[in-house]
């Protein structure tokens, strides 16, 4: 069952990540692209690329028929779904199998058993893993939701039965907010996962989000690769992740890892998966859900364990055994990931589509830039806001934090608003540095950020005024009729300002 060519049913940084893994394995990569994505980075980087439809994902990246047809036409023998889109869609996995394509992920039965949070919570209950009180089944109607919500008590969480990434998730503080929150959650869930089913769960205050990475091969071997802490969130979407978690000691890691492996084994799970837990202030952990796919934040685990998760996914899909045991997985140092999103953190986190006119990423020692964009590329309004993941490794958590602060300061994006300024503030915050994390930390410290002022304000004015000064200087010059060569060269050369080069 050798894999020689993989179609990547995704876009953005994760499609680029899979292209890279394929190339390193000597496997050909096939990208697909919507009409909005002809010039996207994953198209440029893959060995081959084929159009699959108009810009809206429902007409392209979510079209199982077109993806399977493209894979067959290109002669691919496997399909990697990335995360999001169809990654946790059992019907897609089945369609691939029916077309003779290896699906790089768990078998459809395991996607159904674990990916559907309802079924997963049933299994976890059977395996004796602790859970937060809530509905096991999706709520059928608004009326039923009202009744159940009254039993669970407010505040509570609405969560999409399929999917993850914070989409289709809403906090409801009181009964009056329930109806609107249900509508919003269902609408988001339908748009993101093609299924509007949601369930309710008791709300845990100041919780930490900690998840275990597992790998399971087709020969019955299961290992965990330690935990990731993903407590820094906004709008229930992760913004900063790290491994190891500052709240997890070796004994707790062993217990959580053992619980994660138990759930995964019970479901006949194969390939990479993540078991999510909620940890309360007394360091009790509760099963939340299983993500039957690669996580956005997988790189922190990779940097700490030295194990290439996408390579492992491809090897497992090809039927190869893991070749190592739990004892061989030895963590080293600490890793942190920051998500650089096209959002305006000072403007209500509104998405910020546009063209990236200037870009200078962070680099240097132990800095990893998993980016889906490049200078000059468009950031489309049709897809999610994730531009790049900035990941660092350090010998310990303090070294990793110092390195992340340095890397964020280096990262320059012009043309769209990004989360970088807020990420920098969080990483510099004493609560973050002390490891006092919770999923509310960001909301709590955000108001502090708006007020900082001082010398930099004047420097910003200097830059803005000089930009306008330069703009006026250009305007007053007579428009030149450029010679042919000069016109071409001018188009290829960045503006020079304040002197000749």
């Amino acid at each position: 069952m050798k894999i020689t060519k993989v179609l990547i049913a995704n876009r953005g940084e994760i499609a680029v990540r899979v292209v890279r893994a394929c190339r390193e394995q000597g496997i050909a990569s096939v990208a697909v692209f919507s009409e909005a994505d002809r010039e996207a980075l994953h198209v440029l980087m893959a060995d081959e690329a084929y159009p699959i439809g108009p810009a809206p994902a429902t007409e392209s990246y979510l079209r199982i028929d077109r993806l399977v047809a493209a894979a067959k036409a290109a002669g691919a023998d496997a399909v990697h779904p990335g995360y999001g889109f169809l990654a946790e869609n059992a019907a897609f996995a089945e369609a691939c199998a029916a077309a003779g394509l290896v699906f790089v992920g768990p078998p459809p039965s395991a996607i159904r058993a674990m990916g559907d949070k309802t079924a997963a919570r049933r299994i976890a209950r059977e395996m004796g893993v602790p859970m937060v009180p809530g509905t096991i089944e999706p709520v059928a109607s608004d009326a039923a939701a009202r009744t159940t919500a009254a039993e669970i008590g407010y505040p509570l969480m609405i969560k999409a039965a399929l999917g993850g990434g914070g989409k289709g998730m809403r906090l409801v503080r009181a009964a009056g907010e329930l109806e609107g929150a249900l509508r919003a959650a269902r609408s988001e869930a339908a748009g993101a996962f093609g299924d509007s089913a949601v369930y309710l769960e008791r709300y845990v205050s100041e919780p930490r989000h900690v998840e275990m990475q597992v790998l399971a091969d087709t020969h019955g071997n299961v290992v965990h690769l330690g935990e990731r802490e993903c407590s820094i969130q906004r709008r229930h979407q992760k913004l900063i992740e790290e491994s190891p978690s500052p709240c997890v000691d070796p004994a707790m890691r062993a217990r959580m890892g053992e619980a994660a492996c138990r759930i995964v084994e019970a479901a006949g799970y194969v390939n990479a998966g993540t078991v999510e837990f909620l940890v309360d202030s007394e360091r009790n952990f509760y099963f939340l859900e299983v993500n039957t796919r690669l996580q956005v934040e997988h790189p922190v685990t990779e940097l700490v364990t030295g194990i290439d998760l996408v390579r492992e996914q491809l090897r497992i899909a090809a039927g190869e055994p893991l070749g190592y045991t739990q004892a061989d997985v030895v963590p080293r140092g600490a890793a942190i990931e920051c998500r650089i999103n096209a959002e305006d953190p000072f403007g209500g986190w509104l998405p910020s589509p546009g063209t990236i006119t200037g870009l200078r990423g962070a680099a240097g020692p132990w800095v990893r830039d998993d980016s889906g964009v490049y200078e000059g590329c468009a950031v489309s309004r049709f897809y999610d806001t994730l531009l790049a993941k900035l990941i660092v490794w350090g010998a310990d958590r303090a070294a990793a934090i110092a390195r992340m602060a340095r890397a964020l300061a280096e990262y320059k994006v012009v043309g769209v608003r990004t989360t970088i300024p807020v990420l920098a503030h969080v990483v510099a915050h004493e609560d973050f540095r002390a490891g006092r994390l919770s999923t509310h930390l960001l909301d709590r410290i955000l108001p502090e950020l708006a007020g900082s002022r001082g010398r930099l304000r004047s420097v910003a004015i200097v830059a803005a005024v000089l930009a306008e000064h330069e703009r006026l200087g250009r305007r007053t010059l007579p428009p030149e009729a450029p010679s042919s060569t000069d016109a071409w060269r001018a188009a290829l050369r960045p503006g020079v300002w304040g002197g000749r080069r």
């Binding site: 509104l350 200037g358 806001t385 930099l456 420097v459 910003a460 830059a463 803005a464 330069e470």
Partner: protein
């Protein structure tokens, strides 16, 4: 050359002298000697008294956004005469807050109000879906809905007028 810089927290008069990368700026009472270069698309290098700053300047429709250090400012810069004309000629944005315009392109997924509805500050007016996120827009002040120019399912561009409220 004389400019006026308008920030969220104040207005500053700025005078610029110099050329060829070397400038003297007077901001209010402060004098800044600046060695400045545009080193890449919108990325500026400023050396001020030996201290090295890199500022990102993004054009944002009339104003610009400046990122420097971990801070970001929205700054509107005008020649002084233009500023005087604009501010004395009556500012069209004086009635902002009564009119909800789309701050970004996207698709209307839900309209929560109809013409004639009475809304309180903070009430949801409508929801725009963009980049896979539902973004709720709320009334900035109490009022009555005078116009609803969009409906659910409709695509909008940044700047489109969506809802008009009367006080």
């Amino acid at each position: 050359m004389r400019f006026v810089a308008t920030l969220a927290d104040g207005v500053e008069k700025v005078e610029v002298a110099g050329a060829g990368g070397s400038y003297r700026l007077t901001i209010g009472a402060e004098v800044w000697e600046v060695d400045a270069r545009l080193t890449a698309q919108g990325i500026y290098s400023l050396l001020i008294g030996g201290v090295s700053y890199v500022a990102e300047v993004t054009d944002d429709g009339g104003a610009c956004v400046v990122d420097v250090g971990d801070e970001a400012w929205v700054i509107r810069v005008e020649e002084e005469t233009r500023h005087i004309i604009r501010t004395h000629g009556g500012d069209a944005s004086g009635h902002a807050g009564q009119t909800l315009t789309a701050p970004l392109p996207g698709k209307i997924t839900h309209v929560a109000v109809a013409v004639g509805d009475r809304v309180e500050k903070g009430d949801t007016l409508l929801v725009i879906e963009a980049m896979k996120m539902e973004n709720e827009f709320r009334a900035g002040a109490a009022g009555t809905v005078a116009e609803v120019r969009v409906q659910a399912g409709q695509a909008v561009n940044a700047g489109d007028v969506l809802v008009v409220l009367e006080a």
